[in-house]
């Protein structure tokens, strides 16, 4: 479960967040402003501060927000000057946008706000359409506007080049004011709500932000998306009345409350119109009592009436945003908020506590009960802001590059300022640097923030912060501090009871009413400072100084023992009814706090590294050597008897017609001659009234594979023989439980017979099936032997729990995986999980893992002259609802999740992200089925289709722990020799948006590393690989390759990218670098070897074609080459997605000679980058066998090309 935050504001205007992994509210320390309301999304939080301005807090990420500005420099040739900036009067401007219509000189580019900074200066883009250009990046044409080429020709009269400059959003993890550039901007805002991120994924990170002004007008913020988190302008939305409050869900629901107590619902909100078109009025739930508050989610609406009753709206969905009727719910609340997954948070009328609605599921949206969140606030528990800061960073996983300015440093800088300009310190303190816009703001609007009593307040809060943070001694060190400060600190040191200064600060008028109705900056500041001080001291005895002057008012603040909340926002809080939250029944005890911190660290627990534990392991293995190893020839005292387990199953019979027949299944286990366990599988069946059986020796079974099926619980058993045939024994159990029982038992029996126990070794070869199952194989030393390696159909694979799309490892045991939902996972060193129970699974290191993927179906239509496009096709046509091939009927109702382990988590939705593009309704057009589709309609198009997607989720367990928060699409780890002891292991990754990332702090003890370092690129990347000599290669989205220069342990991110053109007319898609060899796969399945790489010229010279029909390649630390081949023919069947091993690879012959075929089909991924076991050296003449084909697909199989089998 990714860690996410619940945001809340207390009645004093202090902003807090609560992590889903945490057990306490963390105060937002960088804000000195009080807030009225906040509204959160996962990536950011918006708020209205007491100055009525809107502030944005973008959560820090290792991925910076960068925006690429571009402008074009245009030149024309003339006989005198050659190419020059002198253009014809009819020409475009000398500096323009890409179309030439917009005048764009470099100095016209301004930073949009103070929250941005330039990353560097302008530079000319040297690449043109994926190819490097001649000097200067110029492209040439006959005239503007025309087709540009990179080559200068005789008739090139004009040329242009692109200049680039990046700007970066810098105000991360801090509240930055949204500049109100419009003078038309109205009266102050009173309410705000963000949402809408599920309406449209383009542009990335798009948000809808709705705001209500004091006069009751509604405004919509245009242009918020990832690269422009602040949005660009406010647009007023016409209304049928005056609005008091508004709520926007993650999807298309937007509701608001009118002054008169009715509710209004926004209609027409959709992908093309996130703002919606019109309002519909819905009556208040209670006839006599008007509504006062509303909160919407994906499919739910909750409302409050003026008598604080809670109402749930029935029948709300995107087709019927108004719903059908109200239900009165238990409880009296003053506000309610709907977070992600339609989970509900509320603040109770009675005690002002935050409540979480328990039991909200997609089938029971109204939930079951309210449960109070009882965690303390950070100030209640701990006095050290420094420690809370570190906690916060741990909780948020903003490791490494935490931008939050710690209070300690604030204080330090403030101390300096205090010492220099005495009384004016108040301003300095209320606006530390991290609060980006506050200084300007305060000076701009002095009238809004009257500060008659500020000196007292400031010194007070300042001192309490200072004392609690640094201790008296440290504070006294600022010797030049003003008198007030000095007095304070002296007294602190002496621990005196009486303090004149503090007495002044706590005049009755201030300490009296914390609930001052007027939202004024200064009053609230005071209350906060005092409360903070009291709480600090109430629980500490060491800080006697502060305790002395707060003793007098202590009891007045007892009421604050549980916080009083004013506002809560769950829009960024990813919980569901199954989440394990430690928010309830939490006591003020530090050990649980420590625990919560520990549980977040991915490294090994102390118990596992403890000396006593190590000692026991070592001594036990010594004991084995001493007492057993020399006496293995002795007879065993207890003879092992035969043990049989029987059952019934169905078997996919070997002969035609193939069908499922009922069989009896038995596993006989006994002790082998050397004391190891062994067994035989029997399948008893009837053939022509005759009883027959089929058997397999357990020690010959190479793998047990669960097979994807929506109707049967099936699995396949392979032996080397059956792998050659491409025809496994296929069995189906009656229930999922039964299948898992058998798989666990058979798997254990197979492992026993081969003497394999415990976790996979560091050298293990990992692979993934197209179903997402993870398999691991222990390489034998002769696997890479020359000239007679172990045939790879004899490799034994065992399953490891979990679900992944890809996995990468290296030989020091660091293993990373990426799920279908792009979540990054790190291997914990355990084994088992999933259906492996008890002894087949390790006790530690097994965690819950979930994955989400989409199921796609197609809606097909044919055009006819009368009615246009309809769902009435020709009799010969495909099903009107089908799979991608059109062969299988797939309607919305009959399509099931891929297997019973998966459950639907969303509704069917049109998928617009189809290659080739779509029109506004998601349709793609073609002349006929099946054909190539395009995203616009032409006269020749008679058919169209569109893709529908529905998300499903799987939850399982395995030895994996999540590495939030950046989703990845590729990862690579430096392959090193088994003995090498590298401190930090280089690990590179590509985010799912194409950013290149370098992981810092990866070691064998902390395989998860600590933080990401972003490596800038000019275009998105899709594949990356690092070789043993730190040579980093990557593939860009345009299919060309890049080499990263100067990567070393001193400079883990290298310095610059070198562009390497792809093989002609091919777009590369994946790359793998071993010790020295580099292989790449293109989109047409060709495997390429990079020729001419030398230590002095690591880029190499050319691509050499090795093979076709290749899906993926993995090159290991011995330069061994393994691939997933698309099609391999066996004696009984053809398999797609097969593991193949390159034979004959030698130092002088890195390209090898032929392929050896291993397990498959249905394999999707393999990594051999952990296997650094040097094969035993045998010197023989290299064997050449001309009869072995160079390609995984022998020539005779070309007949299969036309009907590619989906595996």
């Amino acid at each position: 479960m990714p860690v996410s935050l619940l945001w809340a504001v207390d009645v004093y205007g202090r902003v807090y967040s609560l992590s889903t992994a945490g057990q306490q509210w963390e105060q937002c320390h960088d804000t000195q402003m009080e807030f009225k309301r906040v509204t959160a999304a996962q990536q950011c939080c918006w708020g209205i501060a007491c100055d009525n301005n809107i502030y944005l807090n973008v959560h820090a990420s290792d991925l910076p927000i960068r925006y690429q500005e571009e402008t074009y420099e245009n030149q024309r040739w003339n006989p005198v000057d050659g190419f020059s900036e002198r253009l014809l009067p009819s020409d475009r401007w000398q500096w323009s946008d890409v179309t030439g219509l917009q005048h764009q000189p470099m100095d016209s580019f301004q930073l949009p706000s103070h929250s941005w900074e330039w990353e560097g200066d302008w530079y000319a883009d040297e690449n043109f359409e994926g190819e490097p250009t001649e000097k200067g990046g110029w492209s040439y044409a006959i005239d503007f506007p025309a087709t540009y080429t990179k080559d200068k020709k005789w008739n090139s009269c004009v040329r242009r080049r692109r200049w680039l400059r990046y700007r970066r959003y810098k105000a991360m993890d801090t509240w930055a004011k949204i500049p109100s550039q419009q003078s038309s901007l109205p009266d102050p805002f009173s309410d705000i709500s963000c949402g809408g991120w599920e309406i449209n994924e383009e542009p990335r990170g798009r948000l809808s932000l709705w705001a209500v002004s004091l006069q009751g007008k509604v405004w919509f913020r245009e242009g918020i998306y990832h690269h422009n988190p602040e949005g660009c302008l406010w647009e007023e939305v016409p209304l049928p009345g005056e609005v008091v409050q508004i709520s926007c869900g993650p999807g298309d629901l937007v509701w608001a409350v009118l002054w008169e107590g009715q509710l209004i619902v926004r209609e027409g909100v959709g992908r093309d119109c996130p703002k919606g078109t019109s309002w519909t009025v819905v009556d208040s739930p209670s006839p006599g009592v008007g509504a006062i508050h509303v909160a919407v989610g994906n499919n739910v609406v909750w409302a409050l009436t003026k008598d604080n009753k809670v109402w749930f709206r029935r029948g709300v969905n995107s087709h019927n945003p108004c719903g059908s009727g109200w239900l009165n719910m238990v409880g009296q609340m003053i506000m309610v908020n709907v977070g992600l997954n339609d989970q509900v948070f509320a603040i109770s009328c009675e005690d002002r506590a935050v409540y979480f609605r328990q039991g909200v599921t997609s089938s029971e949206l109204s939930g079951k009960t309210w449960k109070a969140i009882t965690v303390p606030r950070d100030r209640d528990r701990s006095h050290s802001s420094a420690s809370t800061n570190s906690l916060q960073s741990a909780g948020c996983y903003f490791c490494g590059e935490v931008r939050t300015q710690s209070v300690v440093s604030d204080v330090e800088s403030d101390t300096d300022k205090v010492s220099t300009d005495g009384a004016s310190c108040l301003v300095t303190f209320t606006s530390p640097e991290s609060f980006a816009d506050a200084p300007a703001d305060l000076s701009d609007q002095p009238d809004e923030t009257p500060k008659p009593r500020i000196p007292k307040v400031t010194s007070d809060s300042f001192i309490s912060e200072l004392v609690s943070d640094r201790g008296p001694g440290r504070a006294a060190a600022g010797s030049a501090a003003p008198a007030v400060l000095e007095e304070e600190t002296c007294i602190s040191a002496e621990g005196e009871v009486k303090d004149p200064c503090a007495g002044v600060a706590l005049s009755p008028s201030q300490s009296g009413g914390p609930l001052d109705p007027q939202w004024s900056n200064v009053d609230l500041e005071e209350a906060q400072a005092q409360t903070g001080a009291v709480l600090d001291t109430a629980e500490t005895s060491s800080l006697s100084s502060v305790a002395t002057y707060t003793l007098a008012i202590e009891d007045q603040y007892v009421v604050d023992e549980h916080p009083l909340w004013a506002w809560v926002s769950g829009g960024g809080c990813s919980v569901d009814s199954h989440s394990q939250l430690s928010w309830f029944n939490c006591s003020l005890n530090t050990s649980s706090l420590i625990q919560s911190v520990q549980s977040m660290s991915l490294s090994v627990t102390p118990a596992q590294t403890a000396a006593w534990r190590k000692q026991i392991f070592e001594q036990l293995s010594e004991r084995t050597k001493r007492e057993i190893d020399n006496f293995r020839h002795f007879e065993q005292a207890i003879e092992q008897s035969v043990w049989v387990k029987k059952g019934t199953m169905q078997w996919w019979r070997d002969w035609k017609p193939h069908k499922w027949i009922d069989v009896h299944f038995a596993l006989e286990q006994f002790s082998g001659p050397e004391g190891n366990k062994d067994g035989i599988l029997f399948i008893y069946y009837n053939f022509c009234e005759e009883k027959k059986y089929l058997h397999a020796f357990v020690n010959e079974v190479t793998i047990l594979v669960p097979v994807l099926s929506d109707s049967k619980h099936t699995f396949a058993i392979y032996t080397p023989e059956r792998t050659k045939q491409r025809w496994p024994i296929r069995l189906a159990a009656a229930t999922e439980l039964e299948m898992h029982d058998w798989l666990a038992l058979l798997s254990m029996s197979c492992c026993d017979s081969r003497g394999i126990h415990g976790p996979p070794s560091k050298q293990a070869i990992w692979s993934i099936t197209c179903k997402g199952d993870i398999f691991v194989s222990e390489p034998s030393p002769s696997l890479e032997a020359m000239p007679y390696p172990t045939p790879c159909d004899q490799m034994f694979w065992r399953q490891v729990g979990g679900h992944l799309r890809m996995v990468e490892c290296n030989s020091v045991g660091i293993v990373w995986g990426i799920g279908y939902d792009h979540t990054a996972w790190v291997y914990t060193g355990g084994y088992g999980g999933g259906f492996f129970q008890g002894l087949a699974s390790s006790t530690d290191n097994i965690y819950t893992q979930s994955d989400v993927k989409s199921v796609y179906i197609y809606e097909n239509q044919r055009w006819n002259p009368v009615t246009g496009y309809t769902n009435r096709g020709l009799p010969t046509d495909r099903y009107m609802w089908s799979d991608a091939s059109g062969l299988q009927e797939c309607s919305k109702t009959n399509t099931k999740p891929p297997s019973p382990q998966w459950t639907w988590v969303s509704d069917w939705a049109i998928d617009y992200s189809v290659s080739g593009g779509t029109d506004r309704e998601g349709w793609q057009y073609a002349a006929d089925f099946p054909a190539s589709y395009h995203g616009y309609k032409t006269m020749k198009d008679f058919v169209r289709r569109r893709r529908w997607a529905r998300k499903c989720k799987l939850t399982t367990t395995g030895p994996w722990q999540e590495i939030p928060p950046i989703p990845l699409s590729d990862v690579t780890i430096l392959p090193c020799g088994a003995q090498s002891n590298v401190d930090a292991v280089p690990l590179w990754a590509i985010s799912n948006k194409g950013d290149v990332l370098c992981r810092l702090g990866v070691t064998t003890l902390t395989p998860a590393g600590s933080s990401w370092l972003h490596v800038g690129t000019d275009q998105p990347f899709k594949s990356i690989s690092i070789g043993a000599a730190s040579q980093v290669w990557a593939i860009a989205k345009d299919g060309s390759a890049f080499y990263r220069g100067s990567v070393s342990s001193q400079s883990p991110a290298g310095d610059s990218w070198y562009h390497i053109p792809s093989p002609s007319k091919q777009k590369l898609k994946q790359v793998s670098v071993g010790r020295t060899s580099l292989y790449a796969v293109d989109e047409n399945g060709n495997l390429w070897y990079r020729q001419g790489q030398t230590p002095r010229y690591p880029q190499g010279s050319s691509w050499e074609h090795i093979s076709n029909n290749v899906r993926k390649v993995s090159v290991g630390p011995l330069d061994q080459v393994w691939i997933i081949a698309d099609k391999v023919q066996g004696s009984h069947s053809l398999s797609c997605g097969t593991v193949c091993h390159r034979l004959g690879v030698q130092p002088m012959e890195p390209k090898g000679q032929s392929w050896d075929y291993g397990i498959g089909g249905g394999w999707d991924h393999i990594t051999v980058r952990g296997n650094s076991i040097e094969p035993p050296r045998v010197h023989l003449c290299p064997q050449t066998d001309p009869s072995v084909s160079r390609s995984p697909l022998p020539v005779r199989n070309t007949e299969f090309d036309s009907n590619a089998v989906e595996s």
């Binding site: 392991f617 007879e635 002894l839």
Partner: protein, 275 residues
């Protein structure tokens, strides 16, 4: 990284290479060859010596055979102690294989219990398990088990089926995380230098103030002489399953991982060899 599961496996599959020789006083028809066997450390002598008996009976007359018993260097071996305990207590630090003398006469009634059949061993084993569970869970777990579950534990031991045994024994090793361990740790401390057979008292895995008790804490309470004094050479070895765990090893972990199948933690305190 090794897993705790491997410890269970190592403990279970511990073997002591043993050479059985017939007592020279026994009347034989021809000379008896010694018999070599790998004895499971966690089992009982009378349970695993059918082969030994068969071997020596071949050279003896039926009328000369009484109940078989074993002796090591003059000490009769108590069959109701686990084999590993007998070895650690009497024969650790000696040359392997362990040489045991087999007797068929003069059963030492004062030192040994009679064991006419394996059902006696079963009764002894099951009563140990029940006693241990009484200490650990107030007998709740063992009483919740069915007859066949008890049988599974016994059959697992008898047939050396690790998986079969642990599938059931797992339940006996469970405890709630709130408690932080068993109620009391079932342990027995054996000393060669003492007249008492063994020490067995009530001892909790966690101290009243919440600290985890270690092996050292236990010994300090039960047998302080076994602990090394500062500056002095170590006088005693604290041996469990033929190894010497560090004194800071948590007792609860030891109880879960290094207990014998009878669910007791058998700790041997033996003098440090002087050589």
């Amino acid at each position: 990284m090794a897993d705790d599961k491997d410890v269970l496996r190592d403990v279970w599959f511990g073997r002591i290479p043993t050479c059985f020789t017939l007592n020279q006083d026994e009347v034989t028809e021809r000379e008896a060859e010694p018999y070599y066997l790998l004895l499971p450390r966690v089992s009982y002598l009378t349970l695993v010596t059918d082969k030994v008996k068969k071997h020596f009976l071949k050279v003896m007359k039926a009328e000369d055979v009484e109940e078989m018993w074993f002796e090591y260097e003059g000490t009769p071996l108590k069959w109701h102690y686990p084999i590993g305990v007998l070895f650690d207590l009497h024969a650790s630090n000696t040359v392997l294989p362990w040489s045991i003398t087999v007797h068929f006469k003069n059963f030492p009634d004062r030192d040994l219990l009679h064991c006419p059949s394996s059902s006696i061993v079963e009764a002894h084993f099951m009563s140990s398990i029940k006693e241990a569970d009484a200490l650990k869970h107030k007998s709740q777990v063992v009483n919740d088990m069915q007859k066949k579950d008890h049988k599974q534990l016994w059959m697992g031991l008898q047939n050396d089926k690790f998986d079969q045994f642990w599938a059931m024994n797992r339940k006996l090793m469970e405890y709630s995380t709130e408690d932080g361990g068993f109620r009391y740790i079932p342990f027995r401390i054996y000393q060669t230098m003492s007249d008492r057979p063994f020490i067995q008292k009530l001892f909790r895995p966690v101290s009243p103030d919440g600290n985890v008790h270690t092996l050292g804490d236990l010994l300090k309470e039960m047998d302080p002489t076994a602990l090394p004094n500062d500056g002095e050479p170590k006088r005693y070895q604290v041996v469990i399953h033929g190894i010497e765990p560090l004194l800071e090893t948590p007792l609860q972990w030891l109880s879960e991982h290094l207990s014998h199948p009878d669910n007791f933690l058998h700790i041997c305190i033996i003098p440090t060899p002087t050589d």
